[in-house]
Symmetry: C2
Subunit: 300 residues, 2 copies
């Protein structure tokens, strides 16, 4: 983590450094290199403005630099090196994992299978935060006391796109903290980073948690764990929602496991008015989080 970035110019899309960036599509490469990548001006602006401590270096084309001069300014203020490279270098750095349903498989070397995403000419590398099972407990204990808080807990959410979108929505609804249990997709996967559109850097996001530890820590911090269930008696829009609340969101296919559902002190049903049998996890989260925001604003 303290190794200084290589300052030499990158001229070949086949160079070792380019291949190492492309490999960051895979979780094992991210862990080995202790790095992750961030694509696109909006996400990189959020990284540099909110979490400059995580930023390591920025690669940009001359065109992207001219279109987004604020990025180089933010990088300079934070003491982060900006490398100007050709567009083909950026494109080679993001050749990755969009070829199939496998959510997080790295195929950095397969040009034939590599699909081009659209990094808009700018890419950053960040230091991967360590995955520490005790981080969630510490983050919950560090929440402000005796005032409203909203926490989002993702448990067994497997798709990196869903994880990123859920972080974005949690941010938009004013959540104070997002906790991911260790069975979730990695929020530092490129797909998750892209889907979060910078929100990953706007609020504390901690990974690697154990659900039982999280539930205990929430209880200790007087934050009520709440789950959604089609069988709950209380309905979201009419239920009393505590001002300190943690929404526990489960797996895309089978929802929350029985054990976690029973352990959550509050369960509410989201009203379904049509013939749809269920909502997907992100839709359910959106309804709960914005209802929480609405109540919070109505109380103020």
């Amino acid at each position: 983590m303290t190794e200084r970035p290589d300052q030499s110019p990158i001229t070949s899309p086949r160079s070792e450094r380019v291949r190492k960036v492309a490999a960051l599509a895979g979780r094992s490469a991210r862990r080995k290199q202790q790095m992750f990548r961030v694509e696109g001006p909006q996400s990189i602006r959020s990284l540099l403005a909110h979490r400059a401590d995580l930023a390591r270096e920025v690669f940009t084309t001359a065109r992207a630099d001219a279109a987004h001069p604020e990025l180089a300014d933010l990088a300079r203020e934070a003491g982060i090196t900006v490398h100007e490279v050709e567009d083909q270098i950026i494109r080679a750095m993001v050749r990755e994992d969009a070829t199939g349903p496998s959510p997080d498989g790295a195929q950095p070397d397969g040009a034939a299978s590599g699909t081009l995403t659209s990094p808009q000419g700018v890419l950053a590398l960040g230091h991967l935060p360590a995955e520490d099972p005790s981080a969630a407990v510490a983050a919950i204990a560090a929440l402000p006391q005796q005032q409203p808080v909203t926490v989002v807990v993702l448990h067994e959410v497997r798709d990196p796109g869903n994880v990123g979108t859920l972080i974005r929505t949690a941010d938009a609804a004013g959540a104070d903290l997002v906790v991911l249990t260790r069975t979730c997709a990695d929020p530092y996967a490129p797909k998750a980073v892209r889907a979060s559109v910078g929100s990953l850097f706007h609020l504390p996001v901690v990974t690697g948690a154990e659900i039982d530890d999280v539930l205990e820590a929430l209880h200790g911090a007087q934050v009520t764990a709440a789950a959604t269930s089609g069988y709950a008696e209380a309905e979201l829009f009419t239920a009393e929602l505590p001002s300190r609340i943690a929404w526990i969101l489960g797996n895309e296919a089978h929802g929350l496991d029985e054990h976690t559902l029973e352990a959550a002190p509050l369960a509410v049903r989201i009203p379904l008015a049509g013939h749809a049998e269920s909502l997907n996890v992100h839709t359910a989260a959106t309804v709960c989080l914005f209802e929480t925001l609405r109540r919070r604003q109505a109380r103020e």
Copy 2:
């Protein structure tokens, strides 16, 4: 449309009939064959239970038939033929379009590029409803009068997955009608059908509309067209929402065009509490539609 389904058994995954079903991943093949396909027991149950008039035939493995006997019952009641086939036939029928970011490209013949989705052993064919620019106007005119109605209008929503998810959420929130302008992705694309999880068959969904005709028809039916805008003065949670409302939702990247935004009599801002700069179209739709449902329930 009146041609009778071929009754002969299908034994080869390379047969003409299998290739024609696989080709339905592409919009031009759907138009040419006037058909679309539906995958998975839940969506097929919705098709047979709610829109048997659209159903043409069902293909199932023995295993899927045993696991979901209600499907054959529903098909029999509706006079729809059920073909028992080997699993490899079903898999060959859904070899399709998941290889790249192109939302609706058919590659039925490319085994190498074909990605397997998970049809759970059962697949149905339906008659493709004709795309008629006047259908939206007629559907709006046919809405119940002098009582609350909720309409969802999708304008330039390009991704079939988004279109399907938006239809599912509209259904869940009790919308009475979904209108798609002709620049939207096709709701009968396999990805859209999958994402709607049956909701495509739960409420009227009309395609091929012109936005100006839709706005005029809404006005004529005393339904207020409402748009979301980050610059609107009125905030969703405190604004007065008419009980007859149509939410107009725009393109994933650039939202609603200026012309449509100005033509909508109501514009509201969704409050954003964190640092997120925007919401994606589905998140915005979810917040607006469930706030509409909440108000409707509170009035009752």
